[in-house]
Amino acid sequence: MSYRALYRVWRPQRFDEIIGQNVITQTLKNALITNQISHAYLFAGPRGTGKTSAAKILAKAINCPNQKDGEPCNKCAICKAITNGTLNDVIEIDAASNNGVDEIRNVRDKAKYAPTEAKYKVYIIDEVHMLSTGAFNALLKTLEEPPANVVFILATTEPQKIPATIISRTQRFDFKRIRPKDILKQMEHILKSDQIDYDDRALKLIAKSAEGGMRDALSILDESMSYGDDKVTYQSALQVTGSVTQDLLYDYFVEVVDHDTKSALMNVQKILADGKDANRFIEDLINYCQDLLLYKQSPQMIEDHELSVFDDRFKSLVKKVDDRIIYKIIEEVSNIQQQMRFTSHPDVYLEVLTVKLANIKITPKSSDDGNQGLIDQLSGQVKELQSEVKALKKQSIASQSKLTKVNPEHNKPRPVHKERHEQPVKINLEKIYPVLNHATKKDLNRIQNAWQELLPMLKVTQRAIMNVSKPVAASSDGVVVSFEYSFLYRRADSSKELIQALEDGLNRIIGYSPTIVFVPSQKWPTIRKNYITSNYLKQHSDNQNHHNQSSQSSSGDHSSDSNSKSDHSSSDSNDKNDPKNDHENSQPNPIVKKAIDLFGNGIIDVKND
């Protein structure tokens, strides 16, 4: 008989022989013993974990007349026929190639007929996730109302692709990846019973690179056996898995870290000359770096989990190399790894990478030093700047206090100045002043309370505009509303609809609809001041004015800059009560005021002689 691959020779024939899925096999055995067989099973799990094997064993165990403790006898005619795939009642379908509705309909129609030789008809549908939607629906009908004596076993690597309706009609078993330890044990068992010599390290390497699939492990084992003349050596395992030895990696790494470009390049060439794959080498290199980092964090953890043994050289390397260099290397390597996908000359990239890595040598360290230097430099600059700012502040305060004494209103128009240039905004003072004439605190409070209620009554777009608004003054028949942004003010002011909606809303809440006037918030203080000055003048004598001004200017020394601001905010709430303060600050001058009214602040620069 011709040669048969290991994984076929050692395909499990009993539940006991399935590695690493004890709970599942136990459950299946129990079901057989207690005769609680479900009509449909779903075996899900990564490749090489025993799904198809379990399905076949289950098919045998269900039908075997000599079944004992849930295990098939593997000796009777039925068992043998199933093993050979010649029993008519056990039907294996590869859904990957029979994925249409017709095939499944065929299954469905035939499922109605009773089994001929065996007790149960067993359908094993492999790779069931490949079925089309129509096919799934056809299958679903059969699973919903299964004929007697039919068992469906669905096997798949991608259970998430199977409709929930199918899954809920089946008993689902999730096959787990087999632990490297278990794979190792099984391989040892196989090699011992075949009387083949093996290297412990080789098996560990294979077990690790199989990634939990027994079939993969056995294939690699098979290959390395044929490679190494029926012996499993570390070398042959390395060749087959394409891995680079830890030693080589160590050498390369040390050379790179020691900036020994020449040796590192030679090393790379040697690796490539040995026929290693450049991509594989890069992966190994990244893994090696990660192992280094992990080992730094907690040596115990990595030793517990990894099969690879770390020698003393590795440990000394861990101590020697700086984290940052490793991070940097990983970064570079993963960059190159991506570029290598698109090239047909990976060797070139690998060599460039090597040179790059060897030149990292200084960068991390020096960048560190450089950083430190940079930080020193920067902090020095910051200090300098701070002291400069302090000096400037002193100067400016001094000069300002001088200025304010001489000429308190000099810096008044300034803050608004810039804004004016950017957006000339017209404000309807005729409408505002009447409101201000009768403004009372009570009315304002009432409107402010109503405002929150008003907003939800507006349309979404209107509300978006009005969200940044707030009433700042109110009389019994009018209200002044200020806007945070002047473009919103213009939007609002030009929209009759909005004003209408606001008036309606207020009417509903407070029982009357006041005239609504809009102002941009940055203008409001000026407007009000202007108003106050013009009105106030009519009522008060200059005498009192002087008196107040002197007291004001003395306090203004400390807070000359923030003075106007704090005044505004306080006056917003105090409104009518504090015309005095505001008034002093802006220095009454009816002529100037009139001029500003006429021409707007933008083109007028008020200068005091």
Binding site: V23, I24, Q26, T27, N30, A31, T34, Q36, S38, A44, P46, E158, P159, Q160, K161, S168, Q171, R172, F173, D174, R177, I286, Q290, L293, L294, K296, Q297, S298, M301, I302, D304, H305, D323, I330, S334, Q338, R341
Partner: protein
Amino acid sequence: MNVNQLLRSLPKNDVKPVYLILGRQEYLSDQIKNAFIKLVPKEERTMNYASYDMEDTPLSAALNDAMSAPFFGKRRVVLINQPYFLTNKRVSNNIDHDIDGLIQYLKHPEPSSVVVFMAPYPKLDGRKKVTKRLKNVAEMVDINKFSESQVKNYVKSYINQHNYKCDANSLNLLIQRTGGKLSMIMNELPKLFVYCRDKVITSNAINNLVTKSLDQNIFDLVNYVLKKRVKLAVDLYHNLILEQKEPLQINAILVSQFRLLLQVMILASHGHSQGSLASILKVHPFRIKLALRTIQTYQFKELKQAYLGLIDNEIKLKSSQASPELLFEMFMLSFISK
């Protein structure tokens, strides 16, 4: 009327002419369906029982059936599945449903027929005339409102009925792993019954046999990450990728967990209690409780950096071709080294 009342009343022949079963709980609706089918004696079922799917059959067919007298029997049972016209759901087919006919029928339902609407929807569109009418006439059973504690009790009594035992911890584990979905639990139980031959369901059995939902897997992943169990976290991540889970999805869940921790940490430092945190963040109080416990062991800076690291990973996942596993591993490494 609740499910138990319904299931008790039907075998006693205490039957109303129209029923409306609302909610998506496959297991329960299967039970209810079977109970209704049992109303018709087995030999009459071909003639006196019919089930219609409204997504491919016109309503008039079902109504015709409902309006005709039972054939040599006492009663006729008509199941109407997926009556999407009761909801605001749009279905792209060109079946013309005779809604007016239904409203007419509901005015004078045939006493010898039992019409059952199986609506697997969270809720109906109460503004529709037909829905209003139906709600007035029909005996409504809402199986949506099956709370977690009800599920628990149901499962517990089911287990006890079968002479099995299951302690509170294992039961909680079972519910946790299935996301509290009754249908899933009922689907998993036979497996557990078979495995546990000594009639005691252990946590171990549940751990090994019950399929973890994605949520549960992610939950574990988040735990591993938070406990800085690098190797386990990386392995699980690897497994999830092998199972074709979307790396972005996994990352997003991690991000949301870290965001929650940060939010809880910040708000807690402002003196918010567990309850108010839950209402502010609109998160289940239990998650808040866990988060409050978790943040004890962390510095604000640490969480912040982890969060930013994850966001960074997301950008990289979307913009570069870096392998998700490498990104995750690097994230874990930088997370534990802090």
